[in-house]
Symmetry: C2
Subunit: 343 residues, 2 copies
């Protein structure tokens, strides 16, 4: 399993839903490098993370099909002939899911059913790797959180992502559509959406540091998180897609050691050499869905396919800062989306 999972993708027909987004595009880049036949499907819904600049340099090597996973007939067509589907399309903002639960439901539940039904009818031999989330666990009973922890999500997004994940396991178990789910923790790195702060704080913080602005930490910043660099996450998807050991199961994919928000920001500011920090009170809407400290136990996935994170937090933050320093303009095209009263 050290390198044969990479050889597996040579000439392989793959599809990446959400492939113009943060993780999807970084995965697509690795797939292109491995010689795969890459079909990117993305809705390019504004504010969701899809960005054509994310595939700058690999455009000639991929096919991009703009489509929404909720569109059943389109999915019925697109899934045909694909060997592996990396299913990363989704609404990912917890805050947005609380403001508009119906849209989150449509994308994260109905859209997943559309894709799986399409596979069942038109491509039952496919392998599907679903981008799950640690959000399904909610506020942890104990740390680190393994896959044996109860699923008890605390926001609409977590509830719907849990349903979407369960559909994948069900289609594996009942209909034989080989599928598994990777429950990602806090992923960071180049090509993340940074034009607003509703898709996780690390991308937003990196932008603020690069822009030499003030980073706000809620409370005392003592709560812990684990962070995993996007190239390591792409590697996790590649391993899961190539291995039938993972079928019908869920795996945590997280960083190797937890760090507090406070220490993370200090590290980021040190790496960037710009920006500053200010501690503020928790906003009520965020406090209500906060889960305190969280970090995952990813040993199950390591045992299954040999994966482990390779990029240190310092190196990953450094690469992120360098990327946004060079390319930030491509991630700000709707400057009006910047939330009022921040920064």
């Amino acid at each position: 399993m050290t390198s044969d999972f990479r050889a597996f993708y040579f000439g392989r027909a793959v599809m990446v839903t959400g492939g113009l987004g943060f993780i999807g595009s970084n995965l697509a880049r690795q797939l292109v490098a491995l010689g795969a036949d890459v079909l990117i499907v993305d809705s390019l819904i504004p504010d969701y993370g899809g960005n054509l600049f994310n595939i700058a340099g690999i455009e000639p090597c991929v096919r991009v099909n703009v489509a929404d996973v909720r569109q059943e007939s389109t999915m019925n067509y697109l899934v045909r002939g694909r060997d592996v589907i990396f299913n990363l399309a989704g609404q990912v903002s917890h805050v947005d899911s609380m403001r508009d639960p119906y849209t989150d439901l449509e994308i994260n539940c109905r859209g997943q059913l559309s894709l799986l039904e399409a596979c069942r009818k038109y491509n039952p031999g496919v392998k599907v790797v679903f981008a799950g989330t640690r959000q399904v666990y909610g506020k942890p009973d104990s740390l680190p959180v393994s896959e044996q922890h109860l699923v008890r999500p605390t926001d609409v997004n977590g509830i719907n992502k849990a349903a979407g994940e369960n559909y994948h396991l069900l289609y594996n178990n009942v209909f034989g559509i080989r599928a598994c789910s990777l429950r990602l923790t806090n992923v960071y790195g180049p090509r993340q959406l940074v034009k607003h702060d509703r898709q996780g704080f690390i991308g937003w913080f990196t932008r603020l540091a690069v822009e030499d602005r003030e980073i706000e930490i809620y409370g005392d910043g003592s709560q812990l998180r684990d962070f995993v660099y996007v190239d390591d996450v792409a590697d996790a998807f590649l391993r899961a897609g190539a291995s039938d050991v993972c079928n019908g199961d869920v795996f945590n994919v997280g960083g190797d050691e937890p760090i507090s928000h406070r220490d993370l920001v200090n590290l980021l500011l040190g790496v960037a050499g710009t920006g500053r920090v200010r501690f503020v009170e928790w906003p009520l809407d965020k406090k209500r869905i906060d889960i305190g400290s969280f970090y995952a136990d990813s040993r199950k996935f390591h045992a299954a396919v040999g994966w482990q994170p390779r990029v240190t937090l310092r190196d990953g933050l450094s690469a992120s800062v360098d990327f946004y320093r060079e390319h930030l303009a491509h991630y700000l095209d709707n400057a009006g989306d910047m939330p009022a009263g921040r920064g």
Copy 2:
């Protein structure tokens, strides 16, 4: 808590979604007897269990509003002024959910969001008791199954019911809409849908016994289940609705001792004095979503509100048989719905 929870309902404005169905109508009867102001909301979708005969005798004492929980504007209107909502509306057939996952999603996820959003906007002081299901657990790791068991549903219905339940807990925790969920195991008794066999086997078996027909048991009938009589379940809802101890939590509501399918059928045939049994192979579509033996540990709910089942299986089956002997014609109005090749 011995009787004050019953006094609580005198003059109280309650709403029962799915109130023309099996459990809803039995609950509505108890509420009428306690002097509550009862609004029944039911979609009367054919095949789902709603039946006007279920409220025979109490029609003058209840208000019936035919409506679908998916209809947001209707729910916005109906929830106003209600003190307690017993939320039993749902698609309950596991088999149907596998054939048509989208409809199950719309009713069991979107419909629940509609109701909860209506409460959030127009009646935030209401108390909501949700009819959950043991189906969310899937195939158990160990028996009896407590609320600490992982939620790992094996069919679309179980996945969507888990999401619907989680929405209730979320609206309790985040928006202060007091809500809890009762995870019902196998409920039986008068007024259950028996015109087809897709809503659980016990009603169907009772009908076959009453009609002196053959009951088919899949496999050797050794798998265990716990059964709970509908009046005991109605009592559970009444207790949960009157108690704030339950808010934001889930509780198993099951029978007090497990019995095998085989012994259950023998008991039923003995009580009825008619019918017979035949052992057959498992049909593939049912075997794929079967979960083996299952019985619940309901001690948490007992500890919270003092509930325990009071009707023995023999007495409950006897009451069911008597009921269907007298009223079966009212439960067969679409005889064409009877599945081919059974009975």
